[in-house]
Point group: C2
Chain length 351, copies 2
Amino acid sequence: MEKLKKTLEMIKPANSNTVEEAQKHLDNLTKPPGSLGVLEDIAKKIAGITGEVKPPLPKKTCILLAGDHGVTDEGVSAFPKEVTPQMVLNFLNGGAAMSVLSRHVGAELIVVDIGVAADLSDHPLLVKKKVAYGTANMAKGPAMNRDQAVQAIEAGIEVAEKCLQSGTGIFGTGEMGIGNTTPSTAITAFYRGSGVAEVCGRGTGVDDQNLKLKVRVIEKAIELNNPDRDDALDVLSKIGGYEIAGMAGVMLAAAANRKPVLIDGFISGAAALVASKLQPLAVDYMLASHLSEEPGHAAALDLLGLQPYLRMNMRLGEGTGAALAMSIVDGALKIVHEMASFADAGVSNKD
Amino acid sequence: MEKLKKTLEMIKPANSNTVEEAQKHLDNLTKPPGSLGVLEDIAKKIAGITGEVKPPLPKKTCILLAGDHGVTDEGVSAFPKEVTPQMVLNFLNGGAAMSVLSRHVGAELIVVDIGVAADLSDHPLLVKKKVAYGTANMAKGPAMNRDQAVQAIEAGIEVAEKCLQSGTGIFGTGEMGIGNTTPSTAITAFYRGSGVAEVCGRGTGVDDQNLKLKVRVIEKAIELNNPDRDDALDVLSKIGGYEIAGMAGVMLAAAANRKPVLIDGFISGAAALVASKLQPLAVDYMLASHLSEEPGHAAALDLLGLQPYLRMNMRLGEGTGAALAMSIVDGALKIVHEMASFADAGVSNKD
């Protein structure tokens, strides 16, 4: 709890002065004001985060947290639970979509076992931070106890801090965990105060019948556990998951250390909601990479007040949207560094 | 006219067999079917275009065509006409947004003077294909004569063919031309058969009063010139522009040679409309990179039946959206090449 408390205390608002300076700089570049849209928004947001109008191009790190979910016993997922450890190996061997896209954008990919329900062999790219062998079935009781939830958040913070020591300048958040759209839907529906069906999607692809089942299981989990709306740790521990907790930890560590962090899809959005409830200022440090096909993602981003950049109809998770958006962020920073001003280029400005 | 005719005759439909094979290949990769959304759509479309399920990563070339517009005499633009040649120099010197973003994605940038109303000095990166010193004022008569329109399309084809000889595997289309949202709006409104005001935007940033003026000027140009809906060359020559014609030429050459071509923003969308009227099959070879803030762009893409990938609120043109999307296309192709299958990775498939 000490590490989490300290991290939350370190989070301060973004720097509004450097945002203004960045705006002035952008308006001097050879283009109509604002015409680069989101690229300009990103450049300004990162100026506020880092306190620098022209921050160096950041070292990019994607942290992928893997965990299992006891609630899969209820039949809420289209894929069997064994897929979680199998996919961890796939990430480590470089064959998963997230492996490919991290390489594509030049990002380091760090894979963390935070709660996989299997023993994983040692691997130079695997960080072992297992809190438990998956969560308990939230349809029958709390997914985690409070200590486990804190331990998982702090594991995320520790992994992020280690990356910061090696020079990471921007984080992407990703996850793997069969069944994890179920707790993410529970968290999103709970904070939204809406019906579960409105924000519940098909995850990896359940059919109509299992979609109805999934909705009922989530409704039951919320009712049974009755989380305290004013206590994010209570919500997270009762209806969350280890990788969700760990992702929230990464986001809080990024905010505490004034580094941008890219939200990925729906699971990442649910983790961002938890992080924002622990410290609302953390949202200042978050960038929404893409809009997932999972219906709950738009709801989560809406609650966070974040606009997604890419609309690619993706719904894979893993951090794939965050990875793709890292290239967009680099593009935005290069605009700041490399574009000529009206004066330098001898271009006439608007009348 | 011979080159245009030959190019149009070379355009054949995309290969539906390789699209199907690509679908099968994608469904075998370690992810839920379809979960990579647009990345999978791109991979399939390019399989159909190239006739290869696993085409090599293409050499990327952005062709930026610059031209001026007599209609700026009517006061339809927020920036003075001198900016066109000034910006050409900025592109050549590497200081424009398009210069920065082309470098960012590893694309070659080729700048073509196809109708700039000024003499430009020689430069190793400048291709000289000037048809005239800007179009005539379309509010007072046709912007070009038919021969000039054909010459400009063929100039675009020639530039693209030269790129193909040097190994270009994917094209981006970009432009520079103060005033060029005016002919683009005219073309889009004309083909859509709607009121001009519905698709007319602020371009580089005209105020409310000049926006009204711009609408009236375009209405007048369409009425006065009365183009023949069934004759794309008539439409293009009367209410188009040199860079629009040249971009259409690049698109047709890409289609004729089975290479993908990325549509950029509004001007590029208007050029794509013209190309599609000359040969509807050309649309098979077009990918829509982003959705511009210019209201007419959505209308043009809708007429073409194309879905844009990025929604970045950009409205700069130059090819900036196409350049950004090139990195997304590379990502999609790497997914096809580098992802492991369920069998290879030992991952259990859906029940």
